[in-house]
C-alpha cells in the first residue's frame, strides 16, 4: 500500500498534513516569497515485458519526493528533493529563496492559511488493490504475444504493460490544498515481420486513466489482428516518391500532428519564449473554417484526463480554435503571471522533480460532416496516412512526422502500400489547408515530452484532408 511506505517521514499520505504544510508556506512567505507552492508525490509503478513466449522483464519502482516552487515578481525558483522531513522541506524553501536572491521581504500576496482540503482521492484509495496483479498481467501478455504468431514471417513479438500510480498533495500560498491519486495503465503490442530482404514493423498502444479494471477488458485479439495486418500490409511496400501532394490523415493517432505542430504553439510557455507564430493572433483566423480544436482534461478514462492539475486547479474544457478562429491558449500559473492568459487547469509535470508548465491534456480536432470515403474520393493523386509514427517540431515551427503505414490514393481509391514517408511542413501554413474533417472522431493515448517532462496525453481527430503538404521519401 502506498501510504504504508513513508511513515518514517513527517509528511504522511492519507493523513492531514495541513499544519506542517502551512508552517512551510509561512516560512517561505516570511522570507519574502510572493508565492509558495509545494507538490509532494509518492509513486508506485510497475512494468512487464513479454517477448515471444516468455516474460523477460518485470520492473516495479517506487518514488517519493517534493517539488517546491517560489515566485518573486515574475521570477521563479524550483527545488526538488527526496527528503520529505520538515527540515528537508524547509531547507528546500531556503534554497529556493537564496537562489532568487530575495532581499525584499515585502510580499505581493498575503497567506491566510490553507483552504479546506479538497480530497480527490477518497474514491480512489482501493485502486492499488484493484489493478491486475503481475501474475495476471503476465498471463494476458503471453496470450497476446501468442496471438501475434500468425505466420512464419513474424520474427519478433512483444507485448508490454506499464502501470503508474501516483499519489499527490498540492498546497500553495493562495490557499490551495488538494490531494489526489492518479492511475495510468498502458499496454502495447509490436511485431517485426521479415521475408528475404523485406522488413516491416507493426505496433499499437492502448491506454487509460483512472480505470483499474481496463487492462482486463482490453481486447488483445483485436489488437493483435490490427498489428499483424499492419505489418503484413507494409512488408513488401515500395518507398514513397517524394513531393507535394494532398493527404488524408487517419483518425485517432493521426491527431499527433495537430498536437505537435499546433498544440504546442498554443501553450503559454511558447508565448513566454516568443517562439509561437500565434502569439498575437487571438480571435484571428489561423486555420481553415472547418477546423475546431479542443484541449480538455475531463473525458472519463482518457489518458490525458485528471481530477485536478499539478497546481491544484480542476481542468476545464478549452476550445482552442473555433471554426478556424484562435480562441484560447493553454495556460498554467507561470503562464498567467507572465502572459496574462488565464489558467486552464493545464499545469502539469512528469513528477516532483519538474516544475509544472502549461501542457496539453486530451487534445483533438472536433468531428466534421464527411465520411472517410468522402475525403479519399476527393483526391486524384495523394497519400493516405493510416498510422503515424513519432515526429518533432523545430524551434521555428517546422514539423516532420514519420508515416508508419501509408497507402497511395489514385483516382479517389486506396491503392498500394508505401513506406518511408515523412510529412513536413509548418503549422501556420498547414492549418489553413485542412479543408475537410470526417465524422469519425477518435482519441489515442500517448506520452508527450516537453519542458516539464513526459506527461500522459491523448491526441485525436476524425479523418482529415490536408490539401497539400510536402511528403518526404526517396
Amino acid at each position: 500500500m502506498l501510504s504504508s511506505q513513508i511513515k518514517s517521514n513527517e509528511i504522511e499520505f492519507g493523513s492531514c498534513n495541513k499544519d506542517l504544510l502551512e508552517e512551510i508556506i509561512f516560512y517561505g512567505i516570511g522570507l519574502g516569497a510572493d508565492f509558495v507552492e509545494i507538490f509532494i508525490e509518492n509513486s508506485d509503478n510497475a512494468s512487464v515485458l513479454a517477448e515471444e513466449d516468455y516474460i523477460t522483464s518485470v520492473s516495479p519502482s517506487f518514488g517519493r519526493g517534493a517539488g517546491i516552487r517560489i515566485f518573486k515578481d515574475k521570477r521563479d525558483g524550483f527545488v526538488s528533493t527526496n527528503d520529505l522531513s520538515k527540515n528537508g522541506l524547509m531547507g528546500s524553501v531556503s534554497q529556493a529563496i537564496e537562489m532568487l536572491d530575495i532581499t525584499d521581504k515585502n510580499n505581493r500576496e498575503v497567506f491566510n492559511g490553507l483552504n479546506k482540503h479538497k480530497n480527490y482521492s477518497l474514491s480512489k484509495k482501493t485502486w492499488i488493490n484493484e489493478v491486475p496483479s503481475i501474475h495476471e498481467i503476465s498471463e494476458k501478455l503471453l496470450v497476446s504475444t501468442k496471438s501475434l504468431k500468425k505466420n512464419n514471417k513474424i520474427i519478433t513479438r512483444k507485448g508490454s504493460y506499464s502501470r503508474n500510480l501516483q499519489e499527490v498533495i498540492i498546497a500553495s500560498s493562495d490557499g490551495t490544498y488538494a490531494s489526489d491519486i492518479r492511475l495510468h495503465q498502458t499496454v502495447g503490442l509490436n511485431v517485426i515481420a521479415s521475408d528475404a530482404q523485406y522488413r516491416s514493423n507493426g505496433s499499437r498502444r492502448f491506454g487509460s486513466s483512472g480505470m483499474p479494471n481496463e487492462f482486463r477488458l482490453w481486447d488483445h485479439e483485436k489488437a493483435a489482428n490490427e498489428v499483424f495486418e499492419s505489418s503484413m500490409n507494409m512488408l513488401y511496400a515500395d518507398y514513397v516518391e517524394a513531393g507535394q501532394m494532398p493527404v488524408v490523415l487517419a483518425n485517432k493517432f493521426g491527431g499527433v500532428i495537430f498536437h505537435e505542430a499546433c498544440g504546442h504553439l498554443l501553450e503559454t510557455t511558447q508565448i513566454e519564449r516568443g517562439t509561437t507564430p500565434f502569439e498575437n493572433k487571438l480571435n484571428e483566423k489561423i486555420a481553415h473554417e472547418s477546423v475546431t480544436a479542443i484541449d480538455e482534461g475531463i473525458s472519463e478514462g482518457s489518458f490525458g484526463s485528471l481530477s485536478v492539475d499539478d497546481e491544484g486547479m480542476e481542468p476545464e474544457k478549452s476550445v482552442l480554435i473555433k471554426d478556424g478562429i484562435l480562441k484560447k491558449f493553454i495556460s498554467d500559473r507561470a503562464g498567467e503571471l507572465r502572459t496574462g492568459h488565464k489558467r486552464t487547469g493545464s499545469g502539469r509535470r512528469q513528477n516532483y522533480s519538474f516544475a509544472a508548465a502549461s501542457r496539453m491534456r486530451n487534445t483533438y480536432i472536433a468531428k466534421g460532416e464527411y465520411s472517410k470515403e468522402d475525403l479519399i474520393n476527393s483526391i486524384n493523386d495523394g497519400l493516405y496516412c493510416k498510422s503515424m509514427g513519432g515526429g518533432s517540431v523545430g524551434a521555428t515551427g517546422q514539423f516532420n512526422f514519420a508515416v508508419e503505414e501509408g497507402y497511395l490514393i489514385k483516382n479517389g481509391k486506396l491503392t498500394n502500400p508505401v513506406k518511408g514517408a515523412t510529412l513536413i511542413g509548418e503549422a501556420k501554413e498547414v492549418m489553413p489547408k485542412i479543408s475537410m474533417c470526417g465524422n469519425d472522431l477518435e482519441l489515442a493515448p500517448g506520452f508527450c515530452g516537453s519542458i516539464s517532462g513526459s506527461v500522459n496525453v491523448t491526441v485525436g481527430q476524425p479523418h482529415i484532408k490536408v490539401d497539400s503538404i510536402t511528403v518526404g521519401g526517396r
Binding site: 521570477r75 516568443g274 515523412t422 518526404g472
Partner: protein, 450 residues
C-alpha cells in the same frame, strides 16, 4: 547514508530476508540550472536526487528487480522484498549472473571533479552570454532556448560477492539556441552546446560564437529541389547516424531480432576499407565518461568496424555468455539488461587508397549538400529495417556558393550509406557525442519543396 553504509544496509536486509545473492546500482546527484529571458532570470532550479536499483536472485536463480528513491532502512527492505516477489517472474529463457569482471581494477579520475560554482555565478555567466549573443548580429532577436547547469554525482555498483566500486564526478553544460528574424523571411534558429567538468571549463565564448555563426548562416535560405545529391556529413551528423543504427553492433539487439546484424556478422564488410569505428567511453574528451557500466564491468575502448568490416559487438554479461565472449562494459542495470554505446570515435584507416580525397568540404567547388545537423531521430529512423528519413539543417553548395536549405529531409538506408562512403576527411572534430571527420557519401535522396 554513504554508499558503503548503503551496501552494509542492503547486506543486512538481504540476510534478514534470506536472500543470498544480490547486487545494486545507485546514483546520488545534486543538480543546479538556470535559464534567462532577455536578461531576467527565468527559472532557477536545484534538485537533490537518489535512485537505487536492486536485483536479487531467488533459489531458482531467477532475477527480480526494484527501483526506489527511498534509501531509508524500511525503504531498502521494501525494495528487496519487492525484487524478491518480482523474481518469481524472472526470465527463465535467459539467465543473468554477476559480471565476471565486476572486481577487475578500474581507473577512477577524481581530479576531474570540480567544486560547485553556485546559482548566482551560473546566472551571471548566462546573462552575459545571452547579451553577447543578442549583440552579435542585428537579426538575432532572442535566445528562446538557453541554459547553464552543473551537476555533481556519485555512481555506485556493489554485489553480494564483494564487488564494490564507485566514483564521483561533476559535469557542466551550456546551451544557447538563438532565433534570427529578418523582414519578409521566415525566422531561423540554430544553436550550440558545450560541456565541461565544471562551469569554468566551458568555453563560453566559443559557444556564443558557434550559436551566432550557425544561426546567421541560415538567414539566406532557399528551397531545394527533390533529387539525389552528393552528400557531406558533418562530424556531428555522421555520429548521429552511427548512434541511431548502433543496434548493428549491439548483441542485445541481435538476440532480440531487431538488429540488421546477426550472430555471424563479425567480419561482414559494411563499408570502404578506409573506415574504422570505435566505441571509446574512456576517451579523454568524453566529459560523461564512466569507469564501469551498470553491471560493474570496466569501460574500455572497443573496435566496432575495422577497415570496413564488423570487428566486435557490444555486450552485457548475459549476451557475452551467449556469444561465448566477455562483457565489454556497455550494460545498463535492469530487469532486462540493456546494451548501448558510450562514445563513438570514427577514424580514417591506413588502408584508404580508394577514397576520393579531392572531396573536402572547405575547398570542393562542385555541387553537394552539406548536412550540418540531423533532427527528429526518434521519428525518422527505423533501426530494425535500416531505413531513415530525417529532416536536417544544412546547405547546398553550388558553383562555389553555399545557400541554407529550407525545410528538407534526407532519406536512405544505413547499409547503402556505409557502402557508398567515398571520402573520409583527415581532420577529426570533437563533438558532444564522439569524434569524427567529415564523411562524404555518393548520392542520397533529398526531399525539398522547390
Amino acid at each position: 547514508m554513504n554508499s558503503r553504509e548503503i551496501t552494509t544496509q542492503i547486506s543486512k536486509a538481504a540476510d534478514f530476508l534470506n536472500l543470498k545473492k544480490w547486487d545494486y546500482g545507485a546514483s546520488f546527484s545534486n543538480d543546479y540550472s538556470v535559464q534567462v529571458d532577455k536578461g531576467e532570470a527565468k527559472q532557477l532550479k536545484a534538485s537533490q536526487k537518489q535512485i537505487l536499483t536492486l536485483r536479487v536472485w531467488n533459489e531458482s536463480n531467477l532475477v527480480g528487480i526494484t527501483t526506489t528513491s527511498d534509501i531509508s532502512e524500511s525503504g531498502i527492505k521494501n525494495a528487496l522484498n519487492q525484487a524478491n516477489i518480482a523474481s518469481d517472474f524472472g526470465n527463465k529463457n535467459e539467465s543473468t549472473e554477476f559480471s565476471p569482471l565486476a572486481k577487475d581494477p578500474i581507473k577512477v579520475e577524481e581530479l576531474k571533479k570540480r567544486n560547485p560554482a553556485g546559482i548566482k555565478k551560473l546566472l551571471t555567466l548566462l546573462r552575459e552570454a545571452e547579451v553577447k549573443l543578442l549583440e552579435s548580429h542585428d537579426s538575432i532577436k532572442s535566445v528562446p532556448y538557453n541554459g547553464l547547469s552543473e551537476s555533481f554525482y556519485e555512481r555506485v555498483y556493489a554485489n553480494s560477492d564483494g564487488a564494490f566500486r564507485s566514483y564521483t564526478k561533476s559535469q557542466a553544460a551550456l546551451y544557447l539556441y538563438a532565433r534570427a528574424e529578418e523582414k519578409d523571411k521566415k525566422p531561423r534558429s540554430s544553436g550550440s552546446v558545450k560541456l565541461g567538468y565544471g562551469v569554468d571549463d566551458i568555453d563560453i565564448e566559443s559557444c556564443i560564437k558557434d550559436a551566432s555563426k550557425k544561426t546567421i548562416s541560415h538567414l539566406n535560405y532557399s528551397s531545394i529541389k527533390t533529387d539525389k545529391y552528393l552528400i557531406c556529413f558533418s562530424p556531428e551528423s555522421f555520429l548521429t547516424i552511427i548512434n541511431a543504427f548502433s543496434s548493428m553492433f549491439n548483441a542485445r539487439s541481435i538476440l532480440d531480432g531487431v538488429s540488421l546484424s546477426n550472430k555471424t556478422s563479425i567480419g561482414e564488410k559494411l563499408s570502404t576499407e578506409a573506415l574504422n569505428v570505435y566505441d571509446d567511453g574512456l576517451h579523454e574528451k568524453n566529459i560523461s565518461s564512466s569507469p564501469f557500466d551498470g553491471e560493474g564491468t570496466p569501460t574500455k575502448r572497443l573496435c566496432l568496424i575495422n577497415k570496413g568490416r564488423i570487428e566486435n559487438f557490444l555486450h552485457s554479461e548475459s549476451t557475452a555468455r551467449i556469444f561465448k565472449t566477455i562483457p565489454t562494459g556497455h550494460a545498463g542495470l535492469g530487469s532486462k539488461v540493456s546494451v548501448s554505446p558510450d562514445w563513438i570515435v570514427v577514424e580514417k584507416s591506413k588502408k584508404n587508397f580508394d577514397l576520393k580525397t579531392s572531396l573536402d568540404h572547405s575547398t570542393y567547388e562542385g555541387e553537394f549538400v552539406y548536412i550540418e545537423e540531423l533532427n527528429a531521430i526518434h521519428a525518422g529512423v527505423r533501426a530494425s529495417q535500416g531505413s531513415f528519413s530525417l529532416p536536417f539543417d544544412g546547405w547546398l553548395y553550388k558553383n562555389g556558393e553555399k545557400i541554407s536549405i529550407e525545410s528538407a529531409t534526407v532519406a536512405g538506408d544505413i547499409k547503402y550509406l556505409l557502402k557508398n562512403i567515398i571520402n573520409i576527411e583527415s581532420n577529426q572534430e570533437v563533438t558532444t557525442s564522439g569524434i569524427s571527420p567529415h564523411i562524404w557519401v555518393d548520392e542520397l535522396s533529398i526531399t525539398g519543396d522547390a
